[in-house]
């Protein structure tokens, strides 16, 4: 493995950014999704429509927001409303992609950002759902961005904060969640995962540059399905890194 000219954050940002398509709507949360969206807008998806929970729609992401409500989230935007309008827009089926994070994820893509341990007597109290549950409930496809280790990729999360496929096929629909929605991808520093179309269990699709399939499996705390053909992601390109470093996060706040 040759020395890499990018750090793990840059890898995550570039990988997530490539999943963003032009002329789609994407629910953007704090941190890596913001950088990925800004990179996408400046590169391959100039008309990516960013949706920020507290009201911004279609902002031009010239400067990086540090919080989901500040002026950069509606800078030269097409609309600036409020949280209920935004999440209702997602509830009506207008938001294509949503980005999520969490402390734990299970094979069905269920996410925990509430507690480690028992809810009423927790070992670690985490921040809570925030917009996570809303994004996971209403967006057509969700993309989780995670650190990849066995403590995070677990057979059973301590608390289902945000719904993935719940207990498997049809479980979302039976619970009353909108049909056709659910987890789409998981992006980590080791790999990109999808979900098996029938079983809805997480499935390895691609490894990050220089990472072996075995390394991914070893760092996953449950039996990860493996696609028939696992590709290796190309590393962040010169172009991606240049835009990211010189335009997106020129003050090196995140990277």
């Amino acid at each position: 493995m040759t020395e890499k000219n990018y750090n793990p954050s840059e890898l995550l940002i570039c990988t997530a950014s490539r999943l963003m398509e032009d002329d789609t709507t994407a629910f953007i949360g704090t941190g890596i999704p913001m950088l990925a969206a800004a990179l996408a807008q400046k590169r391959h998806a100039p008309n990516l429509i960013s949706i920020f929970e507290f009201g911004g729609t279609g902002a031009v992401l010239e400067d990086l927001p540090l919080a989901v409500g500040e002026r950069r989230t509606f800078h030269r935007a097409l609309a600036a409303s409020g949280i209920t309008d935004i999440v209702e827009t997602a509830q009506r089926g207008f938001v294509d992609y949503g980005f999520l994070g969490g402390a734990q994820i299970d094979p069905y893509g269920n996410l925990n950002s509430t507690v480690i341990g028992d809810h009423d007597n927790p070992k670690v109290r985490l921040p809570g759902s925030g917009g996570g549950n809303d994004v996971g409930s209403h967006c057509w496809q969700t993309i989780a961005i995670m650190r990849h280790d066995k403590r995070r990729f677990v057979e059973k999360v301590d608390f289902i904060t945000t719904p993935g496929y719940l207990t498997g096929p049809n479980a979302r629909e039976e619970a009353g969640l909108p049909p056709g929605t659910g987890p789409y991808r998981v992006v980590t520093t080791l790999a990109v995962m999808g979900y098996h179309p029938q079983s809805k269990r997480m499935m390895l699709l691609a490894t990050q540059p220089g990472i072996s399939v075995d390394a991914v499996l070893e760092n996953t705390g449950f039996k990860l399905l493996v696609a028939d053909e696992v590709v290796e992601n190309p590393p962040p390109s010169e172009d991606e890194l240049r835009i990211l470093r010189e335009e997106v996060d020129k003050e090196k706040f995140y990277i």
Partner: protein, 323 residues
Amino acid sequence: MNVLEEGLGKMLQPPDVNAFREFNRQKPRALIDKRMTEEEAVSKFVHDGDYIGTELYGTVRCPQSLVNEVVRQGKKDLYVAGQGVFELDMLLAAGLVKALDHTYIGLEVYGISNCLRREVESGRIEHCVEWSNAGIAWRFKAAAMGIPFIPTRSMLGTDTLKYSAAKVVECPFTGDPIALLPALILDVGMIHVHRADKYGNAQIDGISGFAFELARASKRLLISAEEIIPTEEIKAHPDRTIIPYYLVDAVVHAPFGSHPGEMCYVYERDEPHIRSWVEASKDVETTQAYLQKYIYDVKDHQEYLDLIGQERLQELQDMVPEV
């Protein structure tokens, strides 16, 4: 319309829309000068054991000068609706919170809240009832609409619902399961706005978070404003009024009222200050030292601003780019 599931969480504030109506009936319709200081507003309208809520998004447009005064006066055993960052951390740090309708308390890019961890993991917070972000906003919206509940497809199938006080029913129109969120009526709401007149008619620039809903969900409403403007300016643009005066009990003139948070178009957030809090909050002793320095040892918001310094405040203003 069968009830399919009921959240196990405690109903901290039952959705008593009739009592809310009776309360609203006796609020004055007259145009009364409601200007007062943070000290007067908090001592008059916030009581121990009240259920309070702050409106903001992250550190944006945060009613910080009001929250600091609540801490200064040591209003305790508070029930709090939790979507907050810096300002809820202050209440938690001061040990004033008894129970939470919780959706998110954390420090955004700086990670989890140490104050939340200490208060919850120690058991000092008696109830932590879970909701999604929009779930809390919709609960305000139900109260604002004057109805006891509002349906949503959020929270279904999750532990977030299981540890909430929502109910899942079979929709009588579609037959599908749907979650019902009980209206959340606040004893006291606090909102920081760009400008208001002395009666409380208020305007906000840019995104409005959940100010519309929380203002209408509050029995008593404290407004702090960067600027107090003549009523004639309100009347010249009535479509800009997001909070009409009759909802409001106190109007506090609070320039830089959101500091160390930001105010869109007016000043940026004070990143080094927030980082200093992130550091301080890691340890009980340094946490208390922060409270001592920035809240207990200053008399009021003006003294707080003096402590921050005019030069620094000017810098934060100057950082706002031209639109």
